[in-house]
């Protein structure tokens, strides 16, 4: 009964989505407030229905109802409760349901908090949002019904893919989808603006919080996925330039560009058409990612099942929305009024440069991701485009962007003073150069690019700090005054600086990990000791252990530095009977922000085991930097001027400051 309720709720949601796809748009055209306000109710009801449907699916998983096909295929009665819960979206059908749940959540949020929007814009946005929702409801109901029943209910399920039996599945997909799908709102705003044929600075102010929210979640979602891959796959790598990773990275790049160009539009009324285009492209890349991951054209841990019909269906959605969006753009955009003049050296100019590099870098990732697929389809030739390609293309495009980054926030709007800014960045320069010199001296003969990378990361970090220091006047003014000024700075200024700081921290971690990670593969017998750098590890032995739905062999290793025991590492190898598959669980030992990483290989007949040990200096900075970026986004979002649903402030201090900028 419960699965049928879930299915039925989804069908009802489709019905509401179809109404919402027509009525508010017609209302906006006829200027009929009653018709327009239909969307407010339907958007909320849609979310409620999808939430009921999702809850029904969760219920089926938690109660191990194996008469439901997806539960049978992806769950097991012996699994711990948390994995029963998360396995609901650890498969194609369930993850699509999560996708539409988040899509309808955003629709509901616009309906709840979009009171400051002009009624026609709000109606159009919700209408467009509902087109997307209707397409994906249809997709789920026609090709990927998560509630399909089996004629004879089996007694036991086939278990979830062991790699997915991890807390990461509870965190990574929901966060990533909040980001991915969140950009649907910017898309809907862009299409709504094109339908109305009117766009102004206010549009950017309305769309920016939504884009910012999506960007925050995408940032943290990608970072959590990266950390999950790092500890779960046992290879010690945190980014593989895998097509599936690129699929989430491309919307991030485009979305970052969108945030910055919307800033220009909001403050100066320029780059309107470009911002619209970016809003369309960002969500198009999200859809492309969904297609790549869900259609089965790629093989990866994210590909759950490939049914050709699904691929074709998503491709059709993709063509419809990207093609339709771009066609509408080509038709209506030339009628929009251009605005805002600025000198090449100015804040606007810097942000244009930012957009240029971000979008070009995004394009190279797109080429690297799609080229193997295109070549395979056209010639049958199979190739792999891996890290070397992206290091050669993405790297050189991102470095100038990072070098220019500290300059941007310090340049004035309209007309900037480059020598003046360079002067103010003296401290950051000095920090960067000191980094280069020290790295060069300490790691002599090491990788050539390492000192440069460290210098660049420090320059970016120094630049972010300089931004706040300059604006608060810590150097020139007495402490108390400066502190007051710093506290009075708009939160969006703080947010921007913190986000830039986060990127610098991530970069620092990346440079350290790629240049100074050490690896050792060894075969060790019990009580044998092996070392890597200053760490000595003693293998204490292998013990079997029984888990809820697996058996494992746990290796115990004592970690010593110069004879002192500092910790214990217990990597294991798990066998999952239901799937007949094995996983290795790496053991991590964290010291500060550096990690020791130990994964267990095969046991040999003579009693020794093969182990792979890494020392990863400062590796945690990679993900901590992303967390800092997330917090920066949050700070910016809490800015009164940006807050969703906040009433227009009557000349507050913040807006007075902004006007004075």
């Amino acid at each position: 009964m419960i699965p049928e309720i879930g299915h039925y709720a989804l069908v009802l949601a489709l019905g509401l989505a179809l109404i919402q796809a027509v009525a508010p748009l017609a209302g906006a055209r006829a200027n009929d407030p009653a018709l327009m306000s239909v969307a407010d109710t339907t958007a909320l009801a849609q979310f409620l229905l999808v939430a009921i449907s999702f809850a029904a699916l969760i219920y089926c998983y938690v109660t191990s109802d194996f008469s439901v096909a997806t539960v049978f295929e992806n769950s097991h009665s012996a699994m711990p409760l948390i994995y029963k819960f998360t396995s609901a979206w650890g498969n194609h059908e369930g993850s699509m349901l999560l996708w539409v749940l988040i899509l309808s959540l955003f629709g509901a949020l616009v309906s709840l908090f979009g009171n400051n929007l002009p009624p026609t814009l709000k109606a159009n946005v919700l209408g467009v949002q509902s087109w997307i929702a209707a397409a994906f409801f249809l997709f789920i109901l026609l090709t990927s019904n998560p509630f399909a029943r089996l004629a004879d209910a089996p007694l036991e399920g086939r278990d979830l893919n062991p790699i997915l039996q991890d807390l990461g599945l509870a965190i990574h997909p929901p966060l990533l989808y909040l980001g991915y799908v969140g950009f649907s709102i910017s898309f809907s705003f862009a299409i709504a603006a094109l339908i109305e044929g009117r766009i102004d600075a206010a549009w950017a102010r309305w769309v920016r919080p939504w884009a910012l929210m999506a960007w925050m979640f995408l940032t943290i979602g990608i970072a959590m996925g990266s950390y999950w891959a790092y500890y779960e796959l046992g290879w010690g790598g945190w980014w593989f330039w895998d097509p599936v990773e690129n699929a989430s990275f491309m919307p991030w790049l485009a979305g970052t560009a969108l945030l910055h160009s919307a800033l220009v539009m909001e403050k100066r009324g320029a780059l309107k058409v470009w911002t619209l285009l970016l809003a369309i492209l960002t969500f198009s890349l999200s859809l492309l990612g969904t297609f790549l991951v869900r259609s089965g054209v790629l093989t990866s841990v994210h590909t759950f099942a490939s049914d050709p019909l699904r691929g074709v269906f998503i491709l059709a959605i993709l063509v419809l929305f990207i093609g339709g969006g771009l066609a509408l753009f080509a038709w209506r955009a030339p009628q929009l009024r251009q605005g805002g003049l600025f000198a090449p050296v100015s804040r606007e100019g810097a942000l244009v440069l930012n957009n240029l590099f971000l979008t070009t870098a995004c394009a190279t990732v797109l080429v690297g991701t799609l080229y193997p697929l295109a070549l395979d389809a056209l010639t049958g030739q199979k190739i792999s485009v891996g890290a070397p390609f992206f290091n050669m293309t993405f790297g050189p495009l991102f470095v100038p962007l990072l070098m220019a980054m500290p300059f941007g926030p310090l340049l004035a709007w309209k007309r900037g003073d480059l020598p003046g800014v360079a002067q103010r960045l003296f401290g950051a320069f000095a920090l960067g150069l000191a980094g280069v010199a020290i790295t060069f001296a300490v790691a002599r003969g090491g990788p050539v690019l390492a000192p440069f990378g460290i210098g660049l990361a420090l320059f970016v970090i120094g630049g972010a700090v300089t931004d706040i220091v300059e604006r608060s006047g810590v150097v020139q003014l007495p402490w108390a005054t400066a502190l007051k000024r710093a506290a009075g700075l708009p939160r969006s200024v703080w947010g921007g600086a913190v986000a830039h700081l986060g990127l610098g921290i991530t970069l620092f971690g990346i440079v350290c990990e790629t240049n100074w990670a050490a690896e050792r593969i060894a075969a060790v017998k019990p009580n044998e000791t092996f070392s890597l750098r200053q760490y000595d590890l003693t293998f204490e032995g292998l013990t079997p252990r029984q888990g809820p739905n697996y058996t494992e062999q746990v290796g115990t290793f004592t970690v010593r530095i110069g004879g002192d025991v500092i910790g214990k590492l217990q990597p294991s190898k798990r066998s999952f009977a239901a799937r007949g598959s094995e996983t290795s669980e790496a053991a991590l030992f964290t010291r500060g922000v550096s990690q020791l990483y130990l994964s267990l290989g095969d046991a040999k007949p003579d009693g020794s085991v093969v182990v792979r040990l890494y020392h990863k200096p400062l590796v945690l900075l990679i993900w901590l930097g992303a967390v800092v970026m997330f917090l920066g986004g949050g700070l910016s979002l809490s800015d009164r001027r940006l807050r969703v649903g906040a009433p227009r402030p009557a000349k507050t201090k913040a807006s007075a400051l902004a006007a004075a900028e």
């Binding site: 090449p344 080429v367 070397p388 598959s581």
Partner: protein, 151 residues
Amino acid sequence: MTRKQRRITLIAVGLGVLGLAVALVLSALKDSIVFFNSPTDVLEKHVAVGMRIRLGGLVVPGSLARGDNLTVQFELTDGNHAVSVRYQGLLPDLFREGQGVVAEGALDQGGVFRADTVLAKHDENYMPKEVADSLKKSGHWKDDYGKKAVP
């Protein structure tokens, strides 16, 4: 600067960055992509010694031999031909005899494939997509390859 000059500056910078990107992509595509080959391709197309390729096939049952210092040797087949692969390091969790794997590396003078990476990137049927396609091409694909028993 006039409006026109500003626009030209913008377009020039834009084209410059785009040109740089195209140049980077083209040179990277020439140098850094790796072609996938089946054992038959390797023998028939005379892949040059030392050229980096990916080799995929089924691990011949009984061919896996472990040597000192974590070296392993095994044979990869597509049903028509087999190529010896030598690798030093840890094999992935899902490496099994009789199942599909992809190895990346280059052929040496003696015709042995020296792999520096062994991937067992699988779909649900424990079969890398490239290997499945190449088996279908060589006519040795069986529909039940790697499939689990359906209860």
